[in-house]
């Protein structure tokens, strides 16, 4: 017993050696800036945060404007649609990947991973070229006689959604694939054996048992989707999202206090989603 506890103490001392640098890094790179943002959001407009400054919630109160709320709503809606589409396309993809033979599996996995080798920005410009009015997609459609006049893809809500799904879908595919891959196929066979048609077996067994992967994928897609704004900017169409709003407050209006308050609200929304996810029994995503 004594031996055991001594081992334990030694172990925790050793693990402290590894944890300390990480903790320092986290405090300086994450906690301190966040505290500064929080502080800035709590002092009056035009003032910078310092100890002993008078705190106020004015910056947050100012956010309760119909047009601001609409922007938050638009961002959440876009993030939701992105997550939904990523699931609808990504889950079947992940399923095929998990059930495919070894060679197909590695090929499909490459298709998911290769895009990470270049910047998302570059890839989105690629899409922009493909989609533009005199671009290849319109040319092909015209060549096939499907359309007479070029379609104006760019600037549409659909094109923004396309770019979002394109950038985010890997984060849905990977956790879904891992949970489908881990699923014991015998369970599906047992359901078939007991009288389920393939579709029923999928709904009764595969879907509920891969739910952890689906939830993880949803969080991994939804959370960054709420804050991303540059994709909408590149695709055009003048969609204003929370990200745009914060950028404009910080860089154009130069109202750091309101911008900070907006950032804090965004952080609270995503943290809330993550906590909800953890509460529902979701796996640790290596975040908190």
């Amino acid at each position: 017993m004594a031996h055991k506890s001594r081992m334990h103490a030694g172990e925790s001392r050793r693990s402290a050696v590894f944890v300390l640098p990480m903790a320092l890094l986290a405090v300086t790179l994450v906690a301190l800036p966040l505290i500064y943002v929080l502080g800035t959001s709590l002092v009056e407009t035009g003032q910078s945060f310092s100890f002993g400054a008078a705190f106020t919630l004015d910056n947050y109160r100012r956010l309760l404007r119909a047009d601001y709320l609409l922007v938050f709503w638009e961002s959440l809606k876009l993030a939701f649609l992105t997550t939904l589409l990523s699931f609808v396309i990504g889950y079947p993809f992940a399923y095929c990947m998990a059930r495919a033979g070894k060679r197909w599996k590695s090929l499909l996995m490459m298709l998911v991973i290769i895009p990470f080798w270049t910047s998302a920005l570059v890839r989105i410009y690629g899409w922009k070229i493909l989609l533009q009015a005199n671009g290849p997609i319109n040319a092909v459609l015209r060549g096939l006689g499907l359309i007479e006049k070029n379609i104006k893809f760019l600037g549409s809500y659909g094109s923004v959604l396309l770019a979002m799904v394109y950038c985010m879908i890997s984060f849905m595919i990977l956790p879904c694939h891992s949970s489908i891959d881990k699923l014991d196929v015998t369970l599906v066979e047992a359901a078939r054996d007991l009288g389920s048609k393939p579709w029923r077996a999928f709904l009764d067994v595969t879907l509920p048992l891969t739910m952890p992967g689906i939830l993880a994928g949803c969080v991994l897609v939804f959370v960054p989707s709420v804050g991303i704004f540059y994709l909408a900017d590149i695709m055009g169409g003048g969609l204003v999202l929370v990200g745009n709003l914060i950028r404009d407050q910080l860089l154009k209006v130069r109202d750091w206090n309101t911008g900070s308050a907006m950032s804090m609200v965004l952080i609270f929304i995503t943290a809330g989603i993550y906590l909800l996810y953890r509460r529902s029994g979701g796996d640790d995503l290596g975040v908190f």
Partner: protein, 362 residues
């Protein structure tokens, strides 16, 4: 014999790396307990999966009650499986697991509940209805897997090494319970095992499989007493195999000679003629070692050691050409041979078997 429930006709199956099953044919009668016995990779699980519909044969037919169901999907077949890993649904409690086969077949809630209750009583697991599979022990999961497979009242129950994961004591107990259950319900069982003792204890008939074929199909007695091939003789029970040439026939008794000497065997089950080569299988517990020559036998051997084995002693001997032969003797034999002694091997000619020809590929 009862009417035939299931027929497998000339089943062939190939997964791309040689035949897994080649020309498997089997008739299973109503209420019968048939065991597929064989080492791993012999094709017994594939045979079972072809019956359940989880696998389709390349050629051949699966016939149930005279109707071909070769192309039926598993959900259409009145056949249920107890999987080796139990395959209980981890997200459903015991009750929901057992009810699953009824629910998907659209049985009404009330009947479902009654049937689940009945099944749980049958396997003595009533008080565990609300538990999750993860909260059960291996033996308990086993019972639930059986209850779940029996709930939809299948005409045929397939069991894929159902006791494989249990320890010996629990295994023995479950063997008895399963056999009792099968008798009580009158359901036809096709049972897979690699344990020959289990097969002999439980089955009405055993199919010994090897390399995707049946080596022998017969009652446990037939298989034990009259192994059709060398493989069956070696796979089931402990025995000594002796080859030789038939010297003379004395009524049903054949006198056989080889380099070690001479011995006698009853050839009622194998038509032997003088001059023919044959192989004789003698079970260890039927092999005797005597200090004096016995009539009809001239098979001298040297004792290497004697080991106490509970109810008997095992006498390890070596024949003239170095063949090792183990014989059994009574524990309180006053003249128990000692190491180095010369003994004469013999047996009751009626209890030795002539192996039917040579084994496949051996």
């Amino acid at each position: 014999m009862e009417e035939v429930l299931l027929s497998l006709r000339h089943i062939f199956k190939n997964f791309g790396e040689g035949d897994v099953l080649s020309d498997v044919s089997l008739d299973v009668h109503k209420g019968e307990f048939v065991t597929l016995l064989g080492a791993s990779g012999c094709g017994k699980t594939t045979t079972l999966r072809i019956v359940s519909g989880l696998e389709t044969p390349d050629t051949g037919e699966v016939i149930l009650n005279g109707q071909s169901m070769t192309d039926w999907p598993p959900e259409k077949r009145p056949v249920n499986t107890v999987f080796q890993s139990y395959a209980l649904f981890p997200h459903m409690n015991v009750e929901k697991n057992v009810a699953y086969g009824l629910k998907v077949r659209g049985v009404d809630k009330k009947t479902q509940a009654a049937r689940v209750k009945e099944m749980l009583e049958l396997v003595q697991m009533s008080e565990y209805a609300k538990r999750m599979p993860a909260q059960l022990s291996g033996g308990q999961r086993q019972r639930i897997a059986i209850a779940r497979a029996l709930a939809p009242q299948p005409q045929l129950l397939l069991l894929d090494e159902p006791l494989g994961a249990l320890d010996l004591q629990l295994r023995r107990q479950m063997q008895i319970e399963l056999k009792r259950l099968q008798k009580k319900l009158g359901i036809t069982f096709i049972y897979i095992t690699h344990d020959q003792e289990e097969a002999i204890n439980m089955s009405d008939r055993i199919a010994v499989m090897r390399g995707g074929r049946f080596e022998q199909l017969g009652t446990p007695e037939e298989i034990y007493d009259h192994p059709a091939t060398r493989y069956v003789a070696q796979f089931i029970g402990r025995s000594t195999l002796l080859t030789g040439t038939v010297q003379s026939m004395n009524g049903p008794l054949a006198v056989i000679k080889n380099e070690n000497g001479r011995f006698t065997v009853d050839s009622a089950h194998a038509a032997l003629t003088a001059g023919e080569r044959c192989e004789v299988c003698v079970r260890t517990e039927r092999m005797r070692a005597s200090c004096t020559p016995v009539e009809g036998f001239d098979l001298p051997a040297t004792v290497r050691e004697t080991r106490y084995a509970g109810g008997s002693v095992l006498i390890y001997t070596v024949l003239a050409d170095g063949t090792e032969v183990v014989a059994e003797g009574a524990t309180r034999m006053c003249d128990a041979p000692q190491a180095g002694d010369r003994v004469y091997m013999h047996w009751n000619p009626a209890q030795a078997a002539v192996i039917g020809g040579t084994s496949h590929g051996a």
